[in-house]
């Protein structure tokens, strides 16, 4: 890439400050909700855009600046042969690669196909299946390339995203809890929905970060941040069984937006 000489001042004042890190946002198979979380930082968006150089972010801009990139945020899962080539290229152009959201970190809801025959799925949706090119599985980014950091969630929490960007800009490690949602309930003073209502809550095995949103509205956590650092899924499954859930319901509880996360996948297969 041709570089302008440092003193090649442009009359429009659009010259880049020399040290702003270049940020790129990439999409694979996903709903766009995690990258939308960046645009949903309404109070911080313009400041973020001044602190970093948004070099590639198709959802927001036509402008594209070639790599290498200081930080790549990657949304979505790998579901086509071309995805594999593309993520390898992106890794090669990125100093730090951060996966954002359940699709990128665990394969997403579309990883339910991993438990079925892909041909059945294609023929169920498309009348002319041979028009469709797809892999038999939906898998996370770390299955193909080294990942430096991950933000969990379906979708990610925008405050965690801002913490991540702030940490990276200041050269420190981001503070991202790896304990269970249960801890967040205690911190917020939310009554335990499992104890008080017998609700089939995945909070004990699910990583914190959302702020215990579901228990706060009296709902059982459905595990959208994926497994916490040391989940005891079999103990929770036994509790769910004692609470009256049948086998298939237990399998489905572990088999949603993080169905492809190792701990959840294994537990769901026990009850399949």
């Amino acid at each position: 890439m041709a570089r302008s000489a440092p003193h090649d001042a442009k009359p429009d004042g659009d010259r880049r400050a020399p040290k702003r890190p270049k940020l790129a946002v990439w999409k694979f198979s996903s709903c766009d909700g995690c990258q939308l979380s960046l645009l949903d930082c309404e109070d911080e968006l313009l400041a973020v855009a001044e602190a970093v150089e948004i070099a590639y972010f198709l959802e927001a801009t036509r402008a594209r600046i070639r790599g290498p990139y200081d930080v790549s945020l990657v949304e979505g899962s790998i579901t086509t042969p071309d995805d594999i080539r593309r993520i390898q290229k992106i890794r090669g152009q990125s100093r730090l690669l951060v996966t954002i959201g359940a699709c990128a970190t665990a394969g997403g809801i579309q990883a339910l196909r991993n438990f079925a025959r892909i041909h059945d799925f294609v023929t169920a949706v498309y009348p002319t299946p041979h028009y469709i090119e797809t892999l038999a599985t939906s898998t996370p980014i770390h299955d193909y390339v080294p990942v430096d950091l991950e933000l969990r969630g379906c979708p990610i929490d925008k405050h965690q995203l801002l913490e991540l960007l702030s940490a990276l800009l200041n050269g420190r490690a981001p503070v991202l809890p790896t304990h269970a949602v249960c801890v967040e309930c205690k911190m917020r003073g939310v009554p335990c929905v499992a104890v008080a209502k017998g609700a089939p809550c995945l909070g004990p095995v699910t990583q914190a970060g959302c702020g215990a949103l579901c228990p706060a509205v009296g709902r059982a956590c459905y595990g959208c941040f994926g497994p916490q650092e040391s989940p005891n899924c079999s103990a929770l499954a036994a509790t769910l069984k004692a609470g009256g859930l049948e086998r298939r319901q237990i399998a489905h509880a572990f088999r949603s937006f993080n169905a492809g996360a190792e701990a959840f996948r294994r537990e769901s297969e026990v009850h399949d």
Partner: protein, 441 residues
Amino acid sequence: MIETAAAGQAGKGRRTIKVEALARVEGEGALSVRVKDGQVRDIKFRIFEPPRFFEALLRGRLYSDAPDITARICGICPVAYLMGASHAMEAALGLTPTAEIRALRRLLYCGEWIQSHVLHAALLHAPDFLGLDDALVLAKTDRAVVETALELKKLGNEILEIVGGRAVHPVNTRVGGFFKAPSGSVIRPLADRLKRGADQAERLGRVFGGFDFPDYDHAYTCVSLHHPDTYAIEDGRLVSSLGLDVAVDGFFEHFGEAHVAHSNALHGVARDGSGPYLVGPIARYNNNHAQLSPRARALAAAAGLGPVCTNPFQSIVVRMVETLYACEEAARLAEDYRPPEPAAVEGEARAGLGHGCTEAPRGICVHRYRLDDDGRIVEADIVPPTSQNQPQIEADLLGVVERNLHLDDEALKWRCEQTIRNYDPCISCATHFLDLEMIRE
């Protein structure tokens, strides 16, 4: 330049121009245009976002799983999926949510319209009319517009957070209603802020109304919901500008989907052979102008719209008219708010067939589910708005390219992108980035 190209063509007869991915849309798609002897021979708007097979992965799940799973079709309009799936399940199970639950759902939906419309109109579409790459550049030339838009968008998201528990993929909704009804003390104060939001929407609408709109008109077949008393959002009958007027469960009788080789999205087709049809803001505006509030109609008139809009580039204005309406409507709902008690109606699992259809910001989004005796999904059909619009997008592109062959390749490419963005296409919904390939032969 096209002139140069034409001169070059005289000798060789063919020119291929490749353009990179289209931005400022949700999802991945491509466009190819083939021009020969000054005539457009072929246009293909391809959606190659990889399929995720939602209809298949829903099979065997409990009816209660459908809203949250289908919400993951689209992170921009999850409420459309939460509501459409909930309505369909309620129809299948014979549940009738109370007036208070329905009012709270409408308030939630207004939040989604506000955040989605302002995101698209101000941050993704407006830069096209100003020849700018994005809203961040716009913020340097007109910071007030961008700040107003961000504040208004944030208000939409706050409604989603207060009522739904989360802006992207709300957690507080369920088949039958809500998990927890927000207290009046958090809902009622929204009214004053929404009135201020209505003023902001009006300001943005007037700014956008002053844009220079490309000269293009089309007599659209408009398909939308219609409700005699209110501007239809989450409730109404299915109507078209050709006279169709049926309950939402008549959708599949009148409309279908076709699978074409160049796209991972199924194309919407009208079964009566009337050709492409339009869903979304312009379709709603044209079918339901009389149901808008006086202030929303006044903004439309001041921004240069008649009662029927035929220029798709003016969709940016219609979005702000609808945003104004959504702010007024949400303010009314917040003032009149009575917490639903109970927060949800309960039902028993049973076999059944149910349809749901609501007005996603991009147009009608249709769900149909068949349940077995245990309330498990046997069959699911979901028809998102962008796949219905895809044939009409191709028809518009043809018209726009034909009228703009005098433009050089870069300008023509941008005009095509802008034409596609008129639709606020949610390609993630329709399955699924846009590359533009221009072949001048």
